[in-house]
Amino acid sequence: MNRGAENPALYRTLKDVLERQAEVTSVRFEPDAIQKRYLAAAIDSQRVVPPTGSESPQLEVHWKLTPPHDEFRIDYADPNAEFHCGWHQDDDHDDLGAAHFQYQTASMETPAYEAVVFEAASPPKLLWECCEDLFNNVIPDYTGEL
């Protein structure tokens, strides 16, 4: 692609990855499918493990292709458990390396940050890896004791 030209297939491909997750009920572009500024997936609160309250948790994905390291934010928020977490690769927290994971449970006053290294290099595989970690490990580990 020409330098500076955005690749419209990026968000279309990431939307497909989100739609394939068992916990996801719908995926929409925000603020609409014309502007496509980011993706927002609604999560079925009864399909996550452990099940959470009546409100639907949300998973948001912002992504920009910027070689050699893309900039992205993958954020999960569960209003029932007051739990937030996210994988960010941006210029924040350079001390932790290119990417970091952050989370905050209801009892924490400030988020905790950890360095993270991904096996995947391409956006759809990386998003898949994060979803797998989120639903298999992160949610059970951090909201399980509630």
Partner: protein, 172 residues
């Protein structure tokens, strides 16, 4: 845990879907080897699907010496996006969204006293406030994105001038 369902990348997507997803999102041209490794398929499998995607205009390839690289075909991707905007949105929706985009860009221009996203980027070194710097960086990123979307929406509206009333998914 052993009772966890296998939700791995290779179990969730077919080989063809993985090759296409990886090839469509490369940040720079990549070899079939690189794509095969990411997609977790054999080299021959990747080459088979990549050739098919080049043939239908989804990807383009470039061969130099022994090496062939692949990336999204810019014309193919532009046309796919144009078709989607034309078929799924009325001219009124497109015009309303265009106005939202212009309004957002005007807001950034006023707020940061700059004319372009690059001028906003150039201002990053002049602020000591970490939060302000982060907001500026994020705004510049979003600004680039909206400039791209604006050009696409303008082109889609021109498509309506040329083909008025021929939209297939008539929701209006």
């Amino acid at each position: 845990m052993s009772d966890e369902p296998d939700r791995s990348w290779t179990n969730g997507l077919s080989a063809a879907d993985r090759v296409e997803a990886v090839a469509l999102t490369v940040g720079k041209p990549r070899t079939a080897n690189w794509i095969a490794e990411e997609a977790e398929v054999a080299h021959e499998t990747a080459t088979k699907y990549l050739t098919r995607l080049v043939d239908d205009g989804t990807l383009r390839s470039d061969t130099r010496g022994q090496q062939t690289t692949y990336e999204p075909d810019p014309v193919g991707q532009y046309l796919a996006e144009m078709r989607e905007l034309y078929e799924e949105h009325s001219p009124d929706e497109l015009a309303a969204s265009l106005e939202d985009i212009n309004e957002q860009i005007r807001t950034w221009k006023t707020k940061y006293d700059v004319e372009t996203a690059n001028q906003l980027r150039a201002s990053l070194g002049r602020t000591d406030d970490v939060t302000d710097e982060r907001n500026r960086r994020q705004a510049a990123r979003e600004w680039d994105h909206l400039e791209t979307r604006r050009r696409l929406v303008e082109d889609a509206l021109r498509l309506y001038d040329r083909f008025p009333g021929e939209r297939r998914s008539a929701s209006a």
